[in-house]
Symmetry: D2
Subunit: 365 residues, 4 copies
């Protein structure tokens, strides 16, 4: 389904970096959910370039709700949100057409679209399109919160600087959701800024790891074998530009340990079955256990750097040196975090609607 | 779609560990593809317990092609393959019903199916079901090979023993596909056996990392934003039991490096555009570049161990000690490898059929 | 999705007329639903050739439940049912390979499958495959009945003989479900037999119209714009061989009348909003109104007739006379009726699960 | 998928009658297809109220292509088209909220959306949304035409006035596509106008039957059993408001005839296998035969009439007389025709892309 994600709740994105607008259609959300413009704005702000380690391009991200909302509430019919493109600098990009940027989608888009793609500013592959996802995700995040489901993501690593682990999930998530640069340990945050600025000074870029926790998802959600909770989440997460790895719970590290060390042994927590550890990341057999869902996304270093790189002229098939002008972020991981939250929320809305029906999310009890 | 994966080429699995049979329906494969019983058997053999580090349960895995094959060739209509269950020991499992095994799907299945699940031997969540995937995958692997697309997976790590990296993809893949215990470095293979046997001696288990390379996929395959090559592959891979992480190309390690170090700079290889490195794992913007597709799957330690563990009685909500009898593998990673190959082949058949049409794979040129 | 119908509840069919078996996988049905072997048998009996107006081929239709049922109840995981093929007469058909039968799928299958299709007895296009649908449908029909949803179909017309209209839906449906030859008016039934026998005497065949009523579906089910109740039902109904038309409520006849004659004006029935008439067939804007769902399917005359017909040799592209030997039904409409009921039940299970969640159907209140 | 139709080529619609805009996203169309603004306008004009038998509401239907088109050609990424709503008269409708209009979606939408739906002017259920489908369909129609596939629809019946049958498909289709009121027989056209005006004079409305022919679709397209050509087309056609019946080829009339009368016997036409008659409507076994695809849609009388009708107050559950003010068409069938063409074209693009791959439609040979 290409640009559509989900079935019970489906999100469809469209737009190009230098076209009229980027946008999104969310279909299948229950009627009667509040649509909070302020919250959408605050989420878009988290994605917007900020401060010293982000590009100088100013994105004010006004948005227009075209359909599906009436009197501030969802109607149950498709919600279309447009985010008009402003402040475009097409001139910066045109010369790149024949000279693909390393580790961007320029060359693969050329292979797929035979040169008909809108190549200006990355076109449909621009990170700009994630603004639409964030707007859609804001409505989903709000709806989930009203059902006691909360999502929080922090920068677990930027370059080689590590954040501390989650300690109290509820508290940490609340804190993270108020932050623009979402790091649990302030000292680490400062070191991360330094690392990014140092890369920027070298005309280079950094990557990192985002870690997400979701609390409040009921046990029993997930559709094995093929629509496991991991399958559906990773499907959405790998759609986020720059994500090159996804791991749940103990992930890759757990693989060099023994079963007895990482099996999640059971206990009773109040009147509920729980586990003493959570190496499974809240998911076994593809189904939620009621423990927090934990996953990490590998975010590669921003491919746009100022350093000269080797490219080719795709017409003449000759080697060519490339220097990418324009404005680039030395890091995008702090901005990607709200995109991860948004995709997670949309995937959960889909899985929960599939499990409990269309109206479940709106039945405030 | 729960137990169905893919749309242009779709695979549906069914069955339980102690039921009549496990099975699979593959729908959408082109007509006229050879179905090689010998090859299916040889693939099933790779999944079958072997030697000292596998369970003593003997699985002979005879299979029955129920439909979709005529005169040894695919008809283009759904192929159903059954693998009857033999040598069942239901008695080993019944007492486990109220006492879920840590890090198995016992508890989450209970939450989802309310006790109606067939709990014997893991039921529908048993690794046994992967035999059906392997049978289906064999047909897909064969069909892809005829189009020049080859898939190979090795045990990149078992416990803390590392295999060497791929050197010559074509040669390494060919070698791996003839091996039962797929490791490129023979010394590492021996050490891995030792590590698994050592865990077995302790009544414990080990995990590891599988690394897969695919060569021959044309550039331009993948359907961004949401059906990216990474999204579709990871969707399938996370359906394989015990897989808790998936990373492409440079993956998580790449995230602590700088853009200038891991950007894949372009070069000309013969008359084709190529890249000097392949940190992108053959995929940019979710679309194949023509470089080898490279990914790694984290396989957690086998959760069935002989050591006593903490569980609970789900009825009385009391703590309870659990010792799992029966026969367990101290490692399943060497057997999971052919499942990964199979899922990869099925995902690629789907993506290629979507891109080039239903008949593409059968048009031998 | 080719041979799969539905998403929340999905049914996948496979098999060929002269292969090992025909079969079906039903995925997504709630756990804990009773699976009544007797009822499945009685439904298969309704599809089985009966009496003077059906082929002499004896189909005993034993079936094997391969998976998804434990202790007589659904487990919530995929149910696979096999119906082995017995009493095959491959010899009757082989000469037809190069000489397609008029108004069968022989020629179009050749175009699609390039000669690789299993052409024996119609192969995958044989009406035989509907036996699998009927077995699956039986489980769905049973589950719906427990929720107060009842489906009944009668032969509204056979050749030019008309049955009476539904009068009391509940009573009529109950009666129909006990009948093998489902006609409300006994006199009409006798005339229909005569009409069919008369055609048979001429080596010819007859068609007719099936009319279906469904009572008990809650108001508010249907997913406009594109998954309207009419869209989803017709999608399934047109998959039934020989169905060439589907109309809801007043259908085609209503189109030559005026709005004031066929608008369904509202009234209060007890404490519920109802309509005085039901020209809308229980559906407006693609969503159920709570009134009975009414539709009719046009069933074309059985294309297998004994009369000599014009065909062609597809290899030499020469005209050729064709006489179809073997045994044919002069009418299949009375047997198609239980297929229509089955598809309807499966479609409703899917729509209801999508609306109210996976478990809705099993929550007996 | 609710408001999305298709998979290889998918169309998603959104919008409400009195919201900001109605719109559509088309995803999966090949890159490099011409997007002809003039043709889109001319198609929208056919849907626009015209002359004496249409409402006086003036719809100028300007449209904005938001994404997916660059330099007048499709890029291969999602095309979003907006049609802003102008000339809204919200005041006409507000009092209708508690008093549903007979045979509209007012009451069923209330049941599904619990009162949160945008009820103004029919909201998301307004025929206005079809303007978006027509804009999307125009691109698809143009693309198909370049591949030799042509679609034409005429008003086969309005009230009780019948048009003549198709005689020369190619010629008739060409003529129809230039007409605003698409009737093959001019005398019939005049009588239809009279019939509609006569109903209008009585404050009433009329319905009719649309007949569509498609020429040029290759043999072998369709995905039995469940995505037959009939299934997919009817799925889309029943999404068009007021369509209550769909029949292919001989349809319902054929059902009272004998097999020998309506079997399509084969012949050789030039060097191609053809049939002497086309009661199958170009489809057997759900697969195209290469003969013209023929179907008819029953269009019910417009439910908005000036006559007083019985409704209820949905809050108090009391009977209430209803007179619908505002402007209504006595007939919409002449406007629905271009919607049918559009849905047909979109469904065919989907089926053809699935069969022959994403790029097929753009490979001009």
């Amino acid at each position: 389904m290409k640009n559509t994600f989900g079935s019970s709740v489906a999100v469809t994105i469209f737009g190009e970096s230098h076209g009229e607008a980027v946008g999104v259609v969310i279909d299948g959300l229950a009627p009667g959910l509040p649509v909070n413009d302020e919250f959408i704005h605050s989420q878009l702000d988290k994605r917007r370039p900020q401060g010293t380690i982000s590009t100088a391009r100013r994105e004010s991200d006004p948005f227009l709700i075209v359909s599906g909302v009436y009197n501030g509430l969802t109607t149950g019919t498709p919600i279309c949100i447009l985010i008009p493109n402003e402040n475009k600098h097409s001139g910066d990009y045109t010369e790149l057409r024949r000279t693909p940027r390393p580790s961007h989608a320029d060359w693969t888009a050329e292979c797929k679209y035979h040169g008909y793609q809108d190549y200006r500013g990355g076109g449909h592959f621009s990170g700009r399109i994630t603004a639409a996802l964030v707007a859609a995700g804001a409505i989903a995040i709000d709806a989930l919160r009203a059902k006691g489901i909360k999502i929080g993501t922090h920068i677990a690593r930027l370059a080689d600087v590590q954040d501390r682990h989650f300690s109290d999930y509820n508290e940490d998530i609340t804190r993270l959701n108020d932050m623009i640069f979402a790091v649990l340990d302030e000292t680490a945050a400062a070191q991360m800024h330094t690392a990014a600025e140092s890369a920027a000074a070298d005309g280079d870029s950094v990557g990192g790891v985002l870690e997400t926790a979701v609390v409040g998802v009921p046990a029993g959600v997930g559709e094995p074998w093929f629509d496991t909770m991991e399958s559906v989440l990773s499907h959405g997460l790998f759609a986020v530009p720059a994500v090159k790895g996804v791991e749940f719970g103990g992930g890759f590290d757990m693989c060099s340990r023994r079963g007895s060390e990482v099996n999640d042994q059971f206990c009773i927590d109040g009147d509920k079955v729980a586990t003493k550890t959570n190496y499974s990341g809240g998911i076994n057999g593809g189904i939620t256990s009621g423990m927090p869902i934990i996953f990490r996304c590998a975010v590669k270093p921003t491919p746009s750097i100022y350093k000269e790189q080797d490219s080719v002229d795709i017409m003449t098939k000759e080697c060519k040196k490339l220097t990418i002008n324009g404005r680039h972020d030395p890091a995008i991981i702090h901005r990607a975090r709200v995109v991860i939250d948004s995709v997670t929320a949309l995937a959960l809305c889909d899985m929960l609607a599939l499990r409990y029906g269309t109206d479940w999310i709106s039945q405030h009890d």
